[in-house]
Symmetry: C2
Subunit: 213 residues, 2 copies
């Protein structure tokens, strides 16, 4: 039992500001992360909640230029196909959006869930095996917040063919692709989502998503 950490009101206010300020980053400076910082962020990510304490997250640090090139091509191909699904002003707006920072970000991190892990002995996932993916998302978001608290930005790239990506990255056999993260120091800091600023999608008020039963 531990009462060693009782957060203060000041901390809770600062945490709220981090939630507001966090944001997806697509504009990175090219300078590398401080040495050891990636490992520190992975350690924090491993503190995330996981179903049955299965800790199914697996991280691939993509350093090889030719593999990064394949990922960038995957994104460009899928982004082109996605662009073609829009018409009129929405198509023009889509074309103007910068949706990834793959060419600039110093760190590329691919994140997977091991769907066949023995850890946790299956506890809590019999009816909902997708909770392994959800646990991995919690790890990603933990890394994201820990990064931003250190001035480091994260961008989540999902405009990818997951099958092709897993092959190009030679991922583990039962690893489910969850996210491709670009990590680095941001060019600018914003407290409004980029898609709000660009007029793509406004915020939805919290009162609109809470219902009673």
């Amino acid at each position: 039992m531990s009462d060693g950490f009782l957060p203060t009101e000041k901390f809770s206010t600062d945490l709220d500001r981090l939630f507001v300020w966090r944001r997806d980053v697509r504009h990175f400076r090219k300078d590398p992360l401080e040495k050891g910082l990636l490992e520190t962020l992975i350690e924090r990510a491993c503190l995330a909640p996981s179903v049955g304490n299965a800790q199914p997250w697996r991280f691939l640090n993509i350093e090889t230029p030719s593999i990064r090139e394949k990922v960038a091509s995957n994104f460009e191909r899928e982004n082109g196909l996605a662009a073609a699904t829009y018409k009129g002003t929405k198509a023009n707006l889509y074309a103007s959006l910068k949706l990834a920072g793959l060419r600039e970000a110093p760190i590329h991190l691919a994140v997977f869930a091991d769907t066949e892990t023995d850890a946790g002995s299956g506890l809590g996932r019999r009816t909902m095996p997708e909770t392994l993916a959800y646990s991995t998302v919690c790890a990603i978001y933990t890394l994201w917040l820990a990064a931003r608290a250190r001035g480091v930005g994260v961008g989540w790239v999902s405009i990818l063919d997951p099958q092709v990506l897993s092959e190009d990255l030679n991922a583990g056999e039962n690893w489910q692709f969850i996210a491709y993260l670009c990590i680095g120091y941001p060019v600018e800091n914003h407290d409004e989502p980029e898609l709000v600023r660009q007029g793509w999608q406004d915020r939805i008020d919290a009162s609109k998503v809470l219902f009673s039963r």
Copy 2:
């Protein structure tokens, strides 16, 4: 552009301690949350990242005792079926675990992802529609951290039949069930996962889940 919030080293240390201290809670006091606090937590949850800014999270505050009773029965049925899959000492250990706080927690919150939302106009989810569920998980984890920073505990219940639950809760037609949360003041605070303390599953070292390519 905003440089209004540059987190300090003290904040980043406190955030790390929150990650350690957060923990799944299954032992709740019965006293209600402070008035308005649930709404505050939902507002924080809505600051989570989401694919294409789709904000697909939908929250059902379950207040009706007969509906809560159906959820508790759902859990007990599925927990019994799960228990039957273990043998020997693992079976005994499983039987001894308290895996939900449904009978005590003052707040029950069911969380869904609206898989047909127009918001975001499909951006970022063409090849990975599951990112709507992942965005909802980010909202849940935001709520969890915001709650813990205020001394409030959260337990994530996944030992449920999602189909039966969605019917019992009269959920929206295209709502995918993600999590059932028990929320309230914890009886005790721990900085070790309950499943570690009970000998079910140890922590895995961060160095074991990071690989290079």
